[in-house]
């Protein structure tokens, strides 16, 4: 409390209605982790039904087909919008951006608090849909009409209205957040923090906000029309009333594909932040990475229809969208190769954050490579809506949200809470997750290529799927162990928060600004004077320096060398 300009604070102002960006980050972090538990429970129930069809799932009961549809819908919605977004976008942006650029707080602290509480409201609205008449929405997490536009198809009315409401509130919340992150980034960098001295994590979090910012509007427009279809009797998406169901798909995926990068880019940013620290080398190709991210962002707005190759849209559109989709893999390939080159000949330390970072690299690569099959219209016609797609996007989302997310959480844990987590438990957590993530989702590629369709509630109804009976049970067992593998994390997270050994300001010997502030940083972050930045963020192992790294706040410009150009 000694550095806190506001003195001791009452509980409600410190923990509930705080405007401190670090506290809001922790609030988002905890909310996202709680929602992840709900999402994991829905996954458990679905996997039980697929592995052991039509038997009672322990702790719940029989998963009937209508319940299965709700679980599929809620699992996707929760994991993408209520776990990925708060953990990777909100929690990380709030914590990392001001600290890394040397700001004392966000540009609009009260707006920041408001955005968190609107997000809580949207979580409540979404979870409430389990308890209203008709149950939770059951039209899939993409909400395709006419399933989502009219009660007659799924028997769900209030659940659907709540789903749209929850998404609307969440997007309002993240728009406020995005205004904050971008305005903070543009206006509050400390002297010397030029755009090309900004650390990778901040660059990629800003990229994520940009991707979200300019794609969310059309989805809100689509959602307004979907809501009117549901409550006011319009027919924008209902063919019988002259509507156009494909319109929703276009508006949804115009947002939906940038949304993939909203979740993916922060994970890449975390890993890029971790690789130099744990291999004691400058990042390879800093500028190439930043420009590649820019190129990927621009391309992400013109690839959306690759989600719709078999939707019945004009097939002549398939070729241009196939081409842009293949093109977008080029900037990401540049980034991945830069990551690999950053490791080459480094003094690699396999601490827990580094393990998660390397795990991200290995698993995401598979997700990216299988995307090439799905991005080619001709191959997609066969694979679309099978479990191959399910495996593909779990190999992209899971590494992003969990491998990238955990990399970030472990990396910044000492800064977040001022204490060290338990390294052994962290490594057990990593290996449990890494092994059983692959054991779960690798066979799903095989099952999907063999013709198992996604979203089916009972595979025993299809004779062609009899051959996958054992494999489905095995996948389910692996998935259950994967969920159980998170127990060491939960224990480690909460135990270390109170009992872990105290962390010093810079436990990883990293060069970016956040490691200058005390752990945990006080309100206002920097004490009386703001830091000044003299060098780039990754000055490791410089031949002209005795110490193996130069932090950004240490003036070495007179020595010349690489720092002057960074």
């Amino acid at each position: 409390m000694t550095n806190d300009p506001h003195g001791p604070q009452k509980f409600i102002w410190k923990y509930i209605l705080s405007t401190d960006h670090k506290m809001i980050a922790k609030q988002y972090l905890l909310t996202g982790l709680v929602m992840a538990l709900v999402g994991a429970f829905t996954a458990y129930l679905m996997r039980w039904q697929l592995g052991y069809p039509n038997t009672n799932a322990p702790g719940w009961g029989l998963v009937t087909p209508d319940k299965f549809n709700m679980l599929v819908t809620m699992h996707g919605t929760i994991m993408v919008f209520f776990v990925g977004m708060p953990l990777l976008v909100a929690a990380l942006s709030n914590f990392v951006i001001p600290l890394q650029i040397g700001a004392r707080d966000m540009a609009f602290p009260r707006l920041n608090m408001l955005s968190y509480w609107i997000f809580v409201l949207s979580c409540v609205a979404l979870l409430a849909s389990f308890f209203v008449p008709g149950g939770a929405p059951a039209g899939g997490w993409t909400g395709y009409p006419p399933l989502s536009a009219s009660e007659q198809y799924t028997g769900v009315h209030w659940g659907m209205v709540l789903w749209i409401t929850a998404l609307a509130l969440e997007f309002a919340s993240f728009t406020m957040g995005g205004i904050n992150y971008l305005a903070t980034f543009m206006c509050l960098r400390v002297p010397g923090m030029t755009y090309f001295r900004v650390p990778m994590a901040t660059w990629f979090l800003i990229g994520a906000s940009l991707a979200f910012f300019f794609s969310v509007g059309p989805l809100i427009a689509g959602a307004v029309m979907l809501l009117l279809d549901n409550v006011a009797g319009t027919g924008f998406y209902i063919p019988a009333q002259g509507g156009e169901p494909l319109l929703w798909q276009h508006l949804f995926w115009f947002f939906g594909h940038p949304e993939v990068y909203v979740i993916f880019l922060p994970a890449v940013g975390c890993v890029l932040e971790i690789l130099p620290v744990f291999s004691r080398k400058p990042i390879f190709g800093y500028r190439a990475i930043v420009w590649s991210m820019g190129a990927a962002l621009a391309l992400s707005y013109i690839v959306w229809a690759h989600h719709m190759f078999i939707s019945g849209m004009n097939p002549r559109l398939a070729t241009p969208f196939s081409i842009t989709t293949i093109l977008i893999s080029v900037p990401f390939a540049v980034i991945i190769f830069c990551m690999l080159a950053s490791l080459r000949q480094g003094s690699i330390r396999l601490d827990t954050p580094m393990l998660w970072g390397l795990g991200f690299l290995a698993t995401f690569l598979i997700g990216g490579l299988t995307g090439i099959f799905l991005g080619s219209a001709s191959a997609d016609i066969y694979l679309h809506d099978t479990y191959f797609v399910v495996a593909h996007f779990h190999y992209t989302f899971f590494p992003s949200v969990f491998f990238g997310g955990f990399a970030g959480i472990y990396f910044w844990y000492p800064k977040l809470f001022g204490r060290r987590y338990n390294e052994t438990l962290g490594k057990i957590h990593f290996w449990m997750t890494f092994i059983f993530f692959n054991a779960t989702f690798w066979p799903i590629f095989r099952v999907g290529a063999g013709g198992m369709l996604r979203r089916i509630a009972d595979p025993t109804q299809y004779r062609i799927l009899d051959q996958f009976k054992e494999m489905n049970s095995m996948i389910s067992v692996a998935a259950f162990i994967l969920i159980l593998g998170q127990v060491p994390f939960v224990w480690n997270f909460f135990w270390s928060m109170f009992r872990g050994p105290a962390a010093d300001a810079n436990p990883w010997r990293a060069g970016t600004l956040e490691w200058l502030a005390p752990s945990p940083p006080p309100h206002g972050n920097w004490g009386p004077g703001l830091p000044t930045v003299y060098v780039g963020p990754y000055e490791y192992s410089r031949p002209d320096m005795a110490d193996d790294f130069v932090p950004q706040y240490r003036p070495v410009g007179v020595l010349g060398g690489p720092a002057g150009q960074a």
Partner: protein, 196 residues
Amino acid sequence: MTAAPADSIASDRPAPLVSKVGMALFIGTEAMFFAGLISAYLVFRVGNPNWPPAGQPRLPVESTAFNTLILLLSAAFCHRAVSTLRAGLARSSAYWLGLTAVFGLFFLVLQGREWIRLVQFGLTLTSSVYGGLFYTLIGVHGLHVLAGTALVLYVLKRSVEGRYSAAYPLGVELARMYWNFVVALWPGLYFLVYLL
């Protein structure tokens, strides 16, 4: 306890640049929101050779043209509110703000009157996709005019309280940014929905 640092975050006056960047970003999402609605409108417009569909009433082109003029005038008043404030004439700036709000409200009242007539002629939200699109697109813009008017009235209240000056015109400038956006949308929407 150290004294509050010079660059303390605990300032009740937000910095002008960061606030304008924030407003510009917000307007950016709003613009994309309207882009979504307009593209939805165009999908139906281009896909239907008979537009408006048979049996649906024609839109009031002339009275809405007059209304367009009203809205454009209000934007000019809003500009005067900023320029007089910058010249140090806080009192006359408040008058121009009031005039902006009055013209904004007049636009809404006239729109409402036309809507009542259209409903009587049988154009409703559910009468056809045409009706649904009309009320959604024009209605959403109307809500933005309402929000903009509320913002102008709020700034007017603070202006009367003497919170703005030539040295600190930020609130009025932010209100003008938003009002400009709302007004600039309208001629485009008018052309698209009423004339095209």
